[in-house]
């Protein structure tokens, strides 16, 4: 039977605290478990940690008793001994140069990210592509959430917060939830930060094709086409086709990430897990950026939703293993930081991993400007 959770009583709480008490208890246990794992740290590591704290480097290790306080501030990051640093904007930057997959360099550190505390400060700077892996691509679902989703399919949409913003949406996607009718109009819905003629799209958190939920204001945020059509849609298609093909369920959650009191989300955290096979076929955790396609030369004022002229900064160190960007039409390959690559439309990009020789052998021509 279809089950829709809607806990209006908690509607005025910050997003991270908007969940049924039972769920919060489960999450607290999970966080406790993760923190307990850290108790095996060597004395040396603890000394280093204390030194970091005393030097005010910006990283805070908290025990569970401080968890909620820090969460409410929206800035908690339990990171220790990490090579990650925060810049003046509060953005974390991977200084290892090893990977942009995760805000933390090692798997051990990744255990300290949690969905409950995940915030904008945890998201790496925009890498020039629509999404990045978070938590090494592993979703944050608890065993209890997985068990619930196995038992019955459901969909849940958080109540809007005091600013009228969406919280997370979660569902155990099943063919029974999928729509049987065409999608209707939703033009009368104006999610927070919506600005007419700014090129925004009303972006479903859980896609209509997955849940049939079309004009629910708790399921719609203001998003760019880069977020909605280029970033999120491929994941939605993958999950939808899988569920239709196998007639099995996928646990799915989309969490909009707002910075403080901004009205437009910086992006969404998307998680999915195929239940019938323990995540063998579908298993991901990614952050999808809500930005205007870089080639358009526009920026978003996330406080108001207004779009203005400007060039989006791209952190090329977070390009993962991508070596070159190839133009699908011209077959010219560029370094990722080449103007030719940055001005290229996303739909024309091919992310090529390999050596220069491999690119040449694949029939691609080097860009005469950046001369890769």
């Amino acid at each position: 039977m279809n089950r829709v959770w809607d806990n209006e009583k908690t509607g005025n709480l910050p997003m991270d605290l908007r969940r049924p008490e039972r769920e919060r208890q489960i999450r607290k246990q999970t966080v406790k478990h993760a923190i307990r794992k850290r108790s095996g740290l060597s004395a040396l590591a603890l000394v280093i940690l204390l030194s970091m704290l005393l030097s005010g480097c910006g990283f805070v290790y908290v025990d569970d008793s401080r968890q909620e306080e820090s969460t409410a501030q929206g800035g908690l990051t339990v990171v220790e001994g990490s090579s990650a640093e925060q810049n003046s904007d509060g953005k974390k930057q991977d200084t290892t140069g090893a990977s942009g997959d995760n805000v933390d360099a090692s798997g051990d550190e990744a255990a300290y990210l949690s969905w409950e505390t995940f915030c904008w400060a945890d998201v790496p700077a925009f890498p020039g592509r629509p999404y990045l892996y978070i938590n090494e691509g592993v979703p944050f679902f608890t065993e209890e959430e997985i068990e619930d989703a196995e038992n019955e399919y459901y969909e849940y949409y958080s109540p809007l917060d005091e600013l009228g913003r969406c919280g997370y949406a979660m569902a155990s996607i099943d063919t029974a939830l999928m729509p049987t009718e065409e999608r209707g109009d939703i033009y009368w819905i104006h999610p927070t930060g919506w600005q007419k003629e700014s090129g925004y799209e009303r972006s479903h958190l859980i896609a209509f094709q997955l849940c049939g939920e079309n004009d629910n204001e708790k399921n719609l945020i203001t998003g760019t086409h880069y977020l909605n059509g280029i970033g999120m849609l491929p994941f939605e298609e993958m999950v939808g086709d899988y569920v239709r093909e196998t007639d099995t369920r996928v646990l799915y959650r989309v969490t909009p990430i707002f910075e403080e009191e901004e009205m437009v989300a910086r992006g969404v955290l998307m998680e999915a897990y195929s239940l019938a096979d323990g995540g063998e076929d579908i298993c991901f955790c990614v952050f999808v950026y809500n930005v205007v396609e870089p080639s358009e030369g526009k920026l978003i004022d996330y406080s108001t939703g207004k779009v203005y002229e400007g060039q989006l900064e791209i952190d090329t160190t977070a390009q993962e293993a991508v070596t070159y960007i190839v133009n699908r039409n011209s077959h010219i390959f560029h370094y990722p930081d080449c103007d030719g690559a940055q001005s290229m439309s996303e739909k024309n990009k091919i992310y090529f991993e390999g050596t220069r020789e491999e690119a040449l052998k694949a029939g691609y021509t080097p860009c005469p400007n950046c001369q890769p």
């Binding site: 999404y131 892996y133 691509g137 849609l233 491929p234 994941f235 298609e237 993958m238 086709d241 899988y242 239709r244 093909e245 196998t246 096979d277 063998e280 076929d281 579908i282 298993c283 991901f284 990614v286 993962e320 699908r328 091919i350 992310y351 090529f352 991993e353 390999g354 491999e358 052998k361 694949a362 029939g363």
Partner: protein, 137 residues
């Protein structure tokens, strides 16, 4: 050697170590492609053929002498530099964009597109099947 691959619109094959999509009618068509022989697969692909395992032959390494024969479904290994071994390449296109972090890498200039057909899948609106033959040197 005939090689079969499945790709999304931008050539993507795998995401986060997983196949991007599957369709039972495509899987059946792969067995038809293999004809009377068993379809050679990587162990990774066995899940697609549950209930039909007598029609497939899983091998650990497709590109070693024992594995490299007949018709092979390739899902996880690169085709780069294997052009000399591949006489026929069959590409099933999902006609969708999925996320991917491993793409098909092969020099298609060395092949001639011989045949294209389209058919509806079980869970996909339109599957495009392309058959390429390697050009004479």
């Amino acid at each position: 050697m005939k090689v079969i691959v499945c790709v999304e619109d931008r050539g993507g094959m795998l995401f986060n170590g997983r196949r991007l999509s599957r369709d039972r009618l495509v899987t059946l068509d792969m067995l038809v492609e293999a004809g009377r022989e068993r379809l050679t697969i990587e162990p990774f692909s066995a899940k697609l053929f549950r209930g039909n395992m007598t029609s497939v032959h899983p091998v650990e390494n497709l590109w070693e002498e024992e594995g490299c024969r007949g018709t092979c479904l390739v899902e996880t290994s690169s085709l780069k530099g294997k052009e000399d071994q591949i006489d026929t390449l069959v590409i099933y296109r999902w006609n969708k964009c999925y996320p991917f972090d491993m793409a098909l890498r092969i020099d298609l200039d060395r092949y001639q597109l011989e045949e294209t057909c389209e058919f509806p899948g079980y869970s996909h609106e339109k599957i495009t099947k392309e058959t390429y033959r390697r050009k004479e040197a």
